[in-house]
Symmetry: C2
């Protein structure tokens, strides 16, 4: 399949990446722009189409199709974006729109599920039949491969791993429930907890406050990570509790799914790579030996390109005419 | 496949059931005895072999094979029982032993996974491709069907749903971790919490104490259920917290797996059927709408026979020479 390629798209709330990905998972050309969310779906779709056309022009060959990962709920059969809160999209027929504009087949999936495809086929999960990707960024998302298939669930919603409950008496989550993994260990939860700790004890929070230019509401997870690396006690205490929460969540996932590899990625993990070792030790201590003995906990290998690689791979598997069609999606 | 049948075996810590199960999931003959665990594996295996021979004699036809569900960890490739703490078994080559003694093919699986096969093929999960069985008895076990396959995981340990963490600061579990679903909502956890509450306030525990013949250490989950149904306040308070814990666990499962049916069964649920309604309402309130809208929460349909039906079905699928071979196991 040398020379074959697909367009991979990673559409988030703030940025859009459209890439030419070759069979084998290699990104050979890529266009990154801010996502023009304020212009509505039409503006974003126009940018995707223009970028895809530019990539085709530069390549001089036609792609097998286009694959898109979107931060939202996707209707699997139709490729409609049912709801993407961060994009403020509801009921957008993204697949149909792209197929019409580009005259090529399209496939649409959830953004973290696209990352899961990428890490599974070409990254940290390569060669394993049972893989979980847990992505800890502003929110927490996930994807699960079991027995060589990406799980989609009854309504294409499987893998909402940020919303497993790890502390039933814990703090409220944006989803309306309490004590979700995301409410304790995501970027937004780290920032919120830091802000609360600073307001309780401004002196203890002085380094964090300074890092945020003096405004408590500007304190971010990134600032917490940086201050912790400089020895700030408040940040270290907070990250200790984040480590405990991530461990509890990963123990649940290892016990429930028994993966061969648990891949950790996302902005929060990238800023706190030491967290992987911490979670690994915690899972080996706290999960059932029957499940943890066969599980390796590793960082993602594809970095921020995992989304475009995964989305394009899904398109190549769906439209490449290969015997190995897509299983899951 | 009329007339075809298999031997189904359900081997627990206290009882052994060996049944003749016809193609289609019907139990037509069954032998129940106490499990002679004190005699070691040889005594139990002898009882299984004798019961199977008696069933064959009564049937007048040979079965397609024998399927066994065991409360323990099974090595999938070999059918060895790696560890069954309640039977006090380690490294028992159950499949090989039965194949040799009975001269027929055998398949061995975990007991709750056998129940999951039964409920999925012939019971409350029939017709669904995405099903979770959560069995709440003395302990809590589970089984997961996703996209029409029973998940086994990397080391055949998938589905340890009693050991998802729902309260990371919660009470210790028998597994060594804290705050597992099993540590808050299983039969042993209900009994332990009742005993603690009685020791803190013997007057409030008087009805429970009387139900247990005056001995706090004899208070069981069954007694708690019975006293709650008679209006005992301590029992009602305790079961309220059990309901919250079960809800939190089921919310995690629905968000992670997005099943079309979540089947609740086991002795604790059988004694507290009202718990199903409670959990259903809680999941609809607390889980992500994208996951819960397509999920029905229902009681098991096969009752205590689910284990033999499931184990026999697995054997029929494995050895029936049908195109539809076993997927998962």
């Amino acid at each position: 399949m040398n020379g074959y390629w697909a367009v991979g798209v990673d559409l988030g709330a703030t940025k859009l990446e459209v890439a030419r990905v070759e069979w084998g998972g290699k990104v050979v050309d890529s266009i990154r722009t801010p996502a023009k969310v304020e212009g509505g779906p039409a503006a974003v779709e126009r940018d995707i189409v223009e970028a895809a056309r530019l990539l085709m022009e530069r390549a001089g060959t036609a792609p097998l199709g286009i694959g898109v990962g979107v931060a939202g709920q996707i209707e699997r059969q139709t490729g409609r974006v049912l709801f993407a809160p961060n994009l403020n999209w509801r009921e957008v027929p993204l697949r149909a729109d792209l197929e019409e504009a580009l005259e090529m087949p399209a496939v649409v999936t959830n953004d973290v599920r696209a990352i899961t495809w990428g890490e599974w086929l070409y990254g940290a999960g390569k060669g394993y039949d049972d893989v979980i990707c847990l992505y800890v960024g502003t929110g927490i998302g996930g994807g699960v491969v079991s027995a060589g298939r990406v799980l989609s669930g009854r309504a294409n919603s499987a893998g909402e791993l940020g919303h497993i409950v790890i502390d039933m008496n814990g703090p409220p989550c944006t989803c309306g429930n309490r004590g979700c993994l995301e409410a304790l260990a995501s970027g937004w939860a780290i920032a919120r907890q830091a802000q609360e700790m600073i307001s309780l004890d401004p002196r203890a929070g002085s380094m964090l406050l300074a890092a945020a230019g003096g405004a408590a509401e500007a304190v971010s997870a990134k600032a917490v990570a940086q201050c912790a690396h400089r020895g700030d006690v408040l940040s270290l205490v907070l990250l200790d509790s984040v480590g405990r929460a991530l461990t509890a969540g990963c123990v649940s996932l290892v016990n429930a799914f028994n993966p061969g590899r648990l891949v950790l990625g996302g902005g929060v993990i990238d800023g706190l790579p030491e967290m992987i070792d911490r979670v690994r030790r915690g899972v080996m201590r706290d999960a059932l030996a029957s499940a943890s003995a066969s599980c390796e906990i590793v960082p993602g290998m594809l970095g921020p390109g995992a989304g475009v690689v995964g989305a394009a791979s899904l398109a190549m598997r769906a439209f490449g005419g290969e015997a190995e069609g897509p299983v899951g999606g």
